[in-house]
Amino acid sequence: MNIQNMILTLQKFWSEQNCILMQAYDVEKGAGTMSPMTLLRSLGPEPWRVAYVEPSRRPADGRYGENPNRLYQHHQFQVIIKPSPDNIQDLYLESLQALGINPLEHDIRFVEDNWENPTLGAAGLGWEVWLDGMEITQFTYFQQIGGLEASPVTVELTYGIERLASYIQDKENVFDLEWTDGFTYKDIFKQPEYEHSTYTFEESNVDMLFQLFSMYEEEAQKTMEKGLIFPAYDYVLKCSHTFNLLDARGVISVTERTGYIGRIRNLARNIAKAYVEERERLGFPMLKKEDK
């Protein structure tokens, strides 16, 4: 099965489970969890079900397109359901079957793995799912988001698309994966991987990035004070990505590093709180929808 069909299959599967199919969020981010479709929507009492592919950028993991496993940008298929359904493990295993993975012919296991993202004040408990020894999915019950207790609990499934594809297509090198008929991962991503790595490690305008960080941070703060939560959150994401670029370039000094992470965390926490307050002010509209 090529990657395109894998994505279509997962989308169809989760759509049939009444998930809203979203498109990738258009601001750079390090993980699907950081999309407002996950991070903000998993806050508060309103039910939520969503599935989307998220291209995730990790500048420090860039390897000029030369490493068979590491990428500047990889793809996550993200499923978010609040409250977590009782049969979520079964649903997940059915989704693997939809991808053609017959559990009787494999060894599928749930191995303890607890997730924590201090930058977002987020933590959860769950597993990494192993397929014949390979980690293919992060399965997490959120316990805390933006420093707030997650209640009801949101469950997050993060499929590593490239990992899963390399297994399904039996390829050792990510660039040999077939995206769709006639197009390999290499055709599509080799050049951007090389160029982004070169930019990240050699060419980025450090002064500009430092300036941008401060500007984004200031804008996030101001925007939030005006009660404009989603725009403020976009600027937090921009801060985070800018920080990642600076960090990958090795120009954030030791003492500064903790400071930068702290600044992003404070913003994220304030926004999480403001989001819940705003939803409450609006009367938690989606809660009512469910009652009808």
Partner: protein
Amino acid sequence: MAKNVLFEIGLEELPARFIDDAEKQLKVKTTSWLDDLRITYSKIETFSTPRRLAVLIHDIAEKQATIEEEAKGPAIKIAQDDQGNWSKAAVGFTKGQGKTVDDIYTKDVKGTTYIFVNKVIEGKLTGSLLPEFKNIIESIQFGKNMRWGNGTMRYVRPIRWMVALFEEEIIPFEIAGVQTSNVTYGHRFLGKEVVLRNPLDYKLEMKNNFVIVDSNVREKMILEGIKQAEEKGNFIVPIDQDLLDEVRNLVEYPTVFIGSFEKEFLKLPSEVLVTSMKEHQRYFPVKSNTGTLLPYFVGVRNGDSNALETVIKGNEKVLRARLSDGQFFFEEDQKNSVEFYLDKLNSVVFQVKLGTIGEKVSRVVSISEKIAQSLNIDAEVTQKIIRAAQLSKFDLMTNMVNEFTELQGTMGEKYARSFGEDESVAIAIREHYMPTSAGGELPETLVGAIVSVADKLDTIVGCIGVGLKPTGSQDPYGLRRQATGILRIANDREWGIPVADLFKLTIELYESLDLEHVDFEVIKKELHAFIQQRVAFVLKERGIEQDIIQAITSHQIGIMSDMVKKASILSAKRNEASFKPIQEALVRVLNLAEKTEETVVNPEYFETDSERDLFDIYENVQASYQELIVQDNLEGAFSALEKLAEPIHLFFENNMVMAENEQLRKNRLALLNRIAILVNNFADLNAIEWKQHF
């Protein structure tokens, strides 16, 4: 016919590390619950897998045991009037016990006659009490709990079903929205839904559905599979019990398989291979008869042998990817020089307020050098110590350690060797992390021991100086463990440098560095108590009692090995009857000496023979004590002190210490003070409780 009871809690996959303990708790709690309820049974069996915890109670009694209790009432004098009629008190007592005055009988208790009734507490039906098991399920403790769905319950993982059977009857209760039933589930993929007709069917029904509920049986199956693999492959699979424990708790139905990897990977350091297999993938590494690693591994699948080839192929692919990474890192890392990595240490934080790892390393170098000086180590070895300290952390900057963090030190040793460093330097890089646990192995080499102690001293003094002293269960920098490590090394090597001096030389270094955030007031305030606690901890671990620890550590924290020896001398002494008068004499001196600071004794002022004798003997004892201490003969030194007891007794019998004459008084106090100083040099005997054994 006796009945049986089964409880099973069905869960989403439990973390393997919690399972054994949860099963143990289940057994203990069930046993004490039934005992408290006075319900008898023939046997309690417990079971566990990654998806369930269960308990099977055999031959449970139909009812609680009925008990007869004798209830004691008032004395007969109060219970009866002169005519022999029952008083109000007697009637009230019988009513209160649910009896009448007709049930009264009397008995003598210590010469007084009291009235009694026999009270029968009828046992309730077992069936009515079994729903209480709910409390046991809720009370099992796990290291980490979570919430799920809409619920508020916190438990290790979501509860998905519960079986509660009293013979064929369902015992009704509910937890977190899950109702008990007689339905359980087999293996996730190989098993089916199972309706249990009888508790005794449990093991077999589960086995038929590919769940081996007894973890000991799973372990045996794995060991059997490994044995077969060994025969088939003609190799040896060393059994690591921790790994075996984990693996048996990752599967409900184990099937052992052999996988292989490319021979070229064997060129990697064996630690890299073993870590990849064991820690990352939970495989058993495979060795030849001569103990060298072979390009095979043994894994355990959660399931049967269907399509086992696919599973093996998948696992091999994962391992290959990891080892390829390892190989790439190994080659890349060796392309750079030590200096390249040392430079990088300057851009990585150790602790925000204590600077970079590079800065830490230069402190460790200075501390190592100072320790070497104190121990009179020759120049050649000192050079090696300094080099080892300089290189102690360089491997943290290599790709390999970045990816395989558990190989810190180990890779440092390998790389240092390949970069042509001295063998003792290479070994010390690995050893300086030792001991890595409370009872862990100590460095074998002197160079390793010194750098290890220096590294730990730096961390402890620095962290306490910036306010990071451990509190309660919080010790994120492992300061307690590191302090224990210092003390164990100092004791093991019998370093003749007082523990307090090791810390002092570290503090002096910090003072010379002028670090902005380090607060010397805090160090002064906190450090002494911290070290004292750690010394006490180490002595306590060796079975030394609290009062002796107090005696040894209250005045000064001296040479560690001396403190250990003194502790054992005093522990033995204090149980000897002959020690009592000695301790009394010496303690009396210690108490009186507190009244003075005077130390100058003028023999011309002596008035009596007994004080003159005491002074002469003191001078002799002092001289031989000092000599014996220098020879490290603590036993002898203490015996020398004991010689003071007799003359002290004579002194007190014949002299008035607090004499009217000031000159006389001062002189006598000064004499006692001199003796006190000498005794305190050994230990504060005042702290020791005299233990008389009969």
